[in-house]
């Protein structure tokens, strides 16, 4: 079965005041249908740029230099902006942002905002006008009930600030699912939430994935969340994919030196608090070859010679490292 989303060899650069930043360099990932893929990386690794590239909302100063983004059999990079807006975003790819408060317009009722999404992106079922609107309202209420938002009818009449953070996030999940997309991209949706609320949302997402048959791309920096929620994992460092594969084997036996170093920092594993020596290279002047080489404990000459080769770890994960080629 063809993966729902497949990114291959993606290279993205962004023009800045200080020069051209090579933000993404040969990034690849594969999200299988009906599964949850966790994209993990630290700040500056290019996660947001990757998401934006997939959704086609890169800033004007950005350029996709190379690569393919295959979504359900089609290469998104050849779509025009109009086609993406009309036929892909919201209708086939849903998006759950990080901060629900910032994503909602404070002066419009929730109902107005959600119905607007449906108005533009919901699949055409033949109904029109008031009839269509009634159907949309019905669907929304059903979704809000499923999200365990209390009093769904009343909720549609309220404003964003009248909800708690957790409830707002549920509203946005409902918005993302409103038009029955096949793929949902979630950008750190639980970072701003309390622990118990986060737990509820993660549980909800897991149920929705199996119930609605969607594929979920979950971006996060928290390995704990990945361990709980995701089926597969993709680790990114400084714009390069370093390791990808099923979650449990990678967490138990990480292969790539960066993955190993990063997991060793996690409080659940760390014997002492060490951190990783050095700092993330600036995308304006990235090191040649493998970008982790300057900080890697197992570095060799071949590491800076060229792009890190593809290899397979004992755990079955794909690793980009000379040690496994």
């Amino acid at each position: 079965m063809m993966p729902m989303l497949s990114v291959r060899g993606l290279k993205v650069s962004i023009r800045t005041d200080e020069g051209t930043a090579q933000v993404l360099d040969d990034v690849g990932l594969s999200l299988e249908r009906g599964r949850i893929l966790g994209v993990v990386g630290e700040s500056g690794c290019g996660k947001s740029t990757l998401i934006r590239a997939i959704m086609g909302i890169l800033p004007k100063a950005a350029r996709v230099e190379q690569g393919e983004i295959w979504f359900d059999g089609e290469n998104l990079l050849v779509f025009s902006e109009a086609e993406l807006a009309r036929t892909v975003r919201s209708s086939r790819i849903g998006f759950i942002p990080q901060d629900p408060l910032l994503a909602l317009n404070p002066v419009f009722k929730i109902g107005t905002q959600l119905l607007e999404i449906m108005h533009w992106h919901a699949p055409n079922d033949g109904s029109r006008g008031a009839e269509r609107r009634k159907r949309h309202v019905g669907r929304l209420i059903g979704l809000l009930k499923r999200m365990q938002v209390p009093d769904p009818e009343g909720a549609l009449e309220r404003y964003p600030h009248q909800f708690s953070g957790g409830q707002r996030q549920r509203l946005l999940i409902a918005a993302a699912l409103a038009c029955s997309p096949r793929l949902v991209i979630a950008d750190e949706p639980t970072t701003a939430l309390d622990v118990t609320t986060q737990h509820q949302i993660l549980l909800l997402l897991r149920e929705l994935v199996s119930e609605f048959g969607i594929s979920l791309l979950f971006v996060t920096h928290d390995f704990g969340v990945v361990a709980e929620l995701c089926d597969d994992l993709c680790v990114i460092y400084a714009g390069q994919t370093v390791e990808a594969g099923p979650v449990r084997p990678i967490l138990d036996t990480p292969a790539h030196p960066y993955t190993r170093a990063l997991l060793a920092c996690h409080p659940d594993r760390a014997t002492s608090f060490q951190g990783i020596a050095g700092s993330v290279p600036s995308p304006l002047s990235p090191p040649p070859g493998c970008r982790f080489a300057p900080r890697c404990a197992d570095v060799r000459a071949a590491c800076s010679a060229g792009a890190p080769p593809h290899g397979k770890a004992k755990s079955g994960a794909d690793v980009r490292c000379v040690q496994f080629a």
């Binding site: 630290e42 309390d194 737990h199 704990g224 969340v225 709980e228 659940d268 951190g275």
Partner: protein, 334 residues
């Protein structure tokens, strides 16, 4: 161990506007009757979710928020019932590190000047002396002394935290209140910051009050943990005891909800319903009663007090006091 800081029945009311031209709004009980001992040299973590009052409690201990009731003793002497400015003078041994370390710095001042300012306020008149101490402290927190000339926006998040630490360490405090010291930091940076904190504690003989919701960090770093819910402390114990045998139902749901690397699947534990309560909520009995999986009739009408359930382990729950719970350790760890 001696108690360097003692709180007895401290309550804090916030907000509230008086009548006259507007409708009177009653104040909110952010902290309700908290009693706490902070022992010298230990790391005590204050854990809770939004609205529990941990930040307000931290600011009250610092002095920027005045308590409405209760006693605060610092190093054995009474230091309570003071206005913010007086409180800061009396409790200079307590310093605070903000969650957003960068926003706590004046963007128009170089960090060197900001660091020197603390010394200037303390009365160090000689400029050379100030410069020297600042340079020494910057090195102690792992920063190049030459960077004193730089401005806050030129530093990364982790570095700003070090700057914030340097700033208050120059004031020679004994107690540090750290508000979410690892939030917003990458894992690798987080590890370095925690390492630094442990190092500094040893070097400068400090006592830490951590305010955090990151249970992984809390478990690894703390000596003792206090769990807060709606303005009250509902459980205190040593870190080991609390994580091995949580007594209070809220603590148990909190521990169960925290994402751990062992990857316990998000579907096989009691999921608590609803959201953390707003501090405006006033209850006669236990505040957790609506969300508690083992609530009884008694819980609704009678407020459970923090009582000892075993050696060094206190919980505010009627049922915890009278029953024993099985250890959840086996289920949690991979």
């Amino acid at each position: 161990m001696t108690a360097i800081l003692t709180l007895r029945d401290v309550s804090v009311e916030l907000g509230g506007t008086k009548g006259l031209l507007r409708k009177a709004v009653p104040p909110v009980q952010a902290v309700r009757g908290v009693s706490l001992d902070l022992h010298e040299g230990e790391i005590l973590s204050l854990v809770g979710e939004s609205g529990c009052g941990k930040t307000t409690l931290g600011r009250t201990i610092l002095g920027l928020q005045q308590e409405s009731a209760g006693k605060i003793l610092l190093e054995g002497r009474s230091a309570g019932r003071l206005s913010p400015e007086a409180a800061r003078r009396a409790r200079g041994a307590i310093q605070y590190v903000h969650q957003d370390a960068g926003a706590a710095l004046d963007p128009w001042w170089s960090i060197g000047r900001t660091l020197e300012e603390g010394l200037l306020i303390q009365g160090v008149r000689d400029r050379g002396e100030r410069r020297k101490r600042v340079a020494v402290m910057l090195e102690a927190v792992g920063l190049d002394p030459a960077w004193g000339r730089r401005y806050p926006h030129e530093f990364s998040g982790g570095q700003l935290r070090r700057v914030a630490l340097a700033r208050i360490l120059l004031l020679q405090p004994r107690i540090l209140i750290l508000d979410e010291p690892t939030s917003g930091l990458d894992m690798s940076v987080q590890a370095t910051v925690l390492n630094l904190l442990l190092d500094l504690r040893k070097r400068f003989s400090l006592t830490y009050l951590f305010i955090s919701h990151d249970l992984s960090v809390v478990e690894r770093l703390s000596d003792r943990v206090a769990i807060m819910y709606l303005g009250r402390i509902v459980e205190t114990a040593s870190a080991k005891l609390l994580f091995d045998q949580p007594m209070h139902p809220y603590t148990r749901t909190l521990l169960a909800a925290a994402p751990r690397l062992s990857g316990r699947r998000a579907s096989d534990h009691v999921v608590v319903r609803g959201d953390p309560p707003s501090p405006a909520l006033v209850t006669a009995g236990c505040a957790f009663v609506d969300r508690c999986p083992i609530a009884e009739a008694k819980c609704k009408i009678e407020l459970p007090l923090l009582t000892s359930v075993s050696a060094g382990h206190d919980a505010a729950c009627h049922r915890a006091a009278s029953e024993q719970f099985a250890s959840v350790r086996a289920k949690r760890r991979a």
